[in-house]
């Protein structure tokens, strides 16, 4: 094929995103079709995330959206990694819909941002996942290759 599956679909997503994004989501960088960055904010008054903005990094393979993108939080000045029992302190997110099993090609960058917003909104625990220090110190794998153990489905 002349242009890859991913490029075509992402250029259409970008068209849409440049037009309008839901509240609390903004595009930071989309210079190519391999890596994008977006900022998200939690919209309610959840004290854990009050007045904070978080940066997300999307990495797309050439078979996106058949394959899920790799989505992580990125730490930079004024952009911490949000506290959450499913978010490791290195920014790796443990979310069903981003895994090979839970992913569906009808998801898109905007819907992922919204899912992450609501994942934060609904959270009441100001803590990291169990074994965070060890995971962060030892993990060399890419997020999509990790079989997360969903030990606590209440959050």
């Amino acid at each position: 094929m002349a242009t890859s599956f991913a490029t075509k679909r992402l250029s259409k997503e970008l068209n849409k995103i440049n037009g309008q994004l839901p509240p609390g989501i903004s595009l930071v960088k989309a210079d190519d079709f391999q890596e994008w960055q977006l900022d998200i904010k939690v919209l309610d008054n959840n004290p854990i995330y009050l007045n904070q903005t978080y940066r997300l990094m999307f990495k797309f393979s050439s078979s996106y959206p058949i394959e899920p993108p790799e989505v992580t939080f990125l730490a930079c000045p004024d952009r911490p990694i949000p506290m959450h029992p499913h978010i490791y302190s290195n920014g790796i997110i443990c979310l069903d819909l981003l895994g090979m099993q839970g992913w569906s090609p009808v998801q898109n960058v905007e819907s992922i941002c919204m899912s992450l917003q609501s994942m934060l909104t609904g959270n009441t625990k100001n803590e990291r996942p169990e074994g965070d220090q060890q995971f962060v110190a030892n993990n060399r794998r890419r997020p999509r290759d990790i079989d997360f153990y969903y030990h606590d489905n209440t959050v």
Partner: protein
Amino acid sequence: MAGQDIPTDPAKALEYKEKGNKCFQAGDYAGAEELYSQAISYDPKNSLLYTNRSLALLKLHRFALAITLSQQCISLSPPPSISLKAHFQLAQAQIALHHPSEALESAKIAHALCVEEVIVGGKGANNIGPITELVLRCKKELWEVREEERLRGRGGLLSELIAGLERDREAYVYVLRGEGKENEVEKVEERYRGKIEELRRTFELAGYNAQEAKKRKVPDWCLDDITFSVMLDPVVTKTGQSYDRSSIMEHLKRSPTDPLTREPLRVEDLRPNLALKAACEEFLEENGWAVDW
């Protein structure tokens, strides 16, 4: 091509074909083309050899000859999987030479054959993505041709109307001069200049407004939720959601689940959505640009 008097020798043909395949894989398309041509001369009834040679010709951008080879292949009434290849290659060569209506016909046959392959699980099923893309490209090029004609037609109408006004003016001036009213000629000419100016402005405005009114937006109902492209061959799952056959196939290869519910979903569960297909076709007829929105 070698002479017609070469005795048929399928074994020798196969030998040449194998050599040709090696050249092709190494990227030596000219060498491969030559060898496939030899192979055909030893076994002119073997339809597969024609598709091999025509593929090499496509790579060499020798489109006219590729068309001939594909057509020769098709005239041998080959089995469906080879006929599919031949029509697909024929369409590619035709579109490369800017014959969109012929290309569309060939691509549509290739698509229909490919859907058959999808249903029986044949090897040709893998081509559904590129073939779908080609059919859409042909539709877009056809639309461009029609659009150009339409614009030219409108330009033609404008010049006819202006010529008519100019004829009126000349007749008027002729009469005035005949009556010796030379002092009124200037005024009449001024009035006609105004009319022609007004006419031009009106046409410009009409063209502009027509484009503005057609805000070039693709309605959601004709878009596939996986590729975000206009659907060519929508198929529906039991949730009622439709996808283009090519993209849902791509998804099912990775995960045999319904994209919305994640319930098990098999190729056999997909049903064509004929009404939506007709609607998408009609939309593309008028809006060929939407192929690349």
